[in-house]
């Protein structure tokens, strides 16, 4: 079955087709919302919201972009909007992600966990920019559009986020050097 057939059936309310799309794309959707959320519980809600929006919008999908790109953008927007609405912020203490990384080789697993832990500890604004640019590959123009900022601001915040990430990774390697993330905000 082609992807377009699967999408059409899912848009018609076929649960099995929706499930097949979910099985295929849920790891990528969950990854991006998890990294924007910085928290497992929030990420579950954001991911569910993203899927609901996507399934609801399926009949409007015309195939101008790849389905994965279209879905990814919906997931990012759902997570960013939900994130803006959240009025309380949990203090982040470098929790290990509950979710299981998909198919990392054992030699890469520790590095990936360290990066995820450092991402979790970044202030929210920095985490969003770093995730969207360095992890997900969006341009500064696209990020500016998503976040309602200009591309120059996105660039300068990215530099700060990278620098802070570097500092935090050094801190994870040597806790004595960790200056703490909470003092930072953008």
């Amino acid at each position: 079955m082609t992807e377009s057939q699967l999408i059409r059936r899912a848009g018609d309310g076929d649960a099995a087709a929706v499930r097949a799309l979910y099985e295929r794309y849920s790891p990528r959707v969950f990854a991006v919302v998890r990294r924007i959320a910085g928290d497992d519980e929030l990420a579950k809600d954001y991911a569910q919201e993203a899927w609901i929006r996507a399934i609801r919008a399926l009949p409007t999908f015309r195939g101008d972009a790849r389905f994965s790109t279209w879905l990814h953008r919906i997931a990012v927007n759902a997570a960013l909007q939900a994130n803006r609405k959240a009025d309380t912020r949990k203090k982040r203490e470098a929790p290990m992600p509950e979710a299981v990384p998909v198919a990392p080789r054992s030699s890469d697993s520790l590095l990936a966990r360290r990066l995820e832990a450092a991402l979790d500890r970044l202030p929210e604004g920095m985490r969003r920019i770093l995730t969207l640019h360095d992890v997900e590959g969006y341009t500064h123009e696209e990020i500016g559009e998503m976040l309602g900022i200009n591309s120059g601001t996105s660039k300068s915040q990215l530099s700060k986020a990278r620098a802070k990430m570097r500092e935090m990774l050094r801190g994870l390697e040597n806790p004595a050097q960790d200056q703490g993330a909470e003092a930072w905000s953008i």
């Binding site: 990528r28 990294r35 609901i52 609801r56 992600p97 990384p101 990936a112 990430m165």
Partner: protein, 233 residues
Amino acid sequence: MEHLTTDALARLVDEVPSPEESGHLEACEVCAAELDALREQTDQLGALPAMRPPQGDWEALEARLLAEGLIHSDSVIPFGRSRRRWGTAIQAAAALVLFVGGAALGTQFRGGEPGAIEGGPLAGPASLVDTPTSDVALATLEDAAEDVRQKEQDYIEAMIRYRQLLEASGRGGTQGQDPASRYAALEAVMAASQAAVREAPADPFLNGILASVSAERQAFVRSLSETGRDNWY
């Protein structure tokens, strides 16, 4: 010598340095090394893997999709709701046998013509587990789990194809309207479940699957006998 700030170095990950910055980087090993580390960090972030959603994620989504009328309840695939509850290597290995069976069952229908379902016999238990995918070497538990996930997806897509073929053959979308194929499918899933339980006799999850399939087959046979349709095979 005054070093470049980390912010400035972070900017240089994907921007061209000014002549002054370039000169400094040539002369200062510390800043050059820090820039290399920042570039490596950026590469590593770009290579972060996707993440498997937590257990129960699909079930919660499915319930909400049903509640909002975005999917039809009669199209929900059976036996899928608790597949994510495996937690051990033996469960993953045993479940692999089950889903290889499922994939093989799907292969019977994939690419075939609608008419082929009626006359084409389904594979027996031996051929269900004897597929090329069973020869794949799985080095780690993560590989095995990913392989099971892929088989599960193949199985789901095969079941969709099966339903399409039923619809195309004019028998509607419900499996109950095609007793012969329905019974054959149940038999095949039963055989795959038995094979999985033979691999892990004490596994409660797989035994639960086997019990469910067995109960469904009995209920199906009973419903046929009650309606007097005893010549369907």
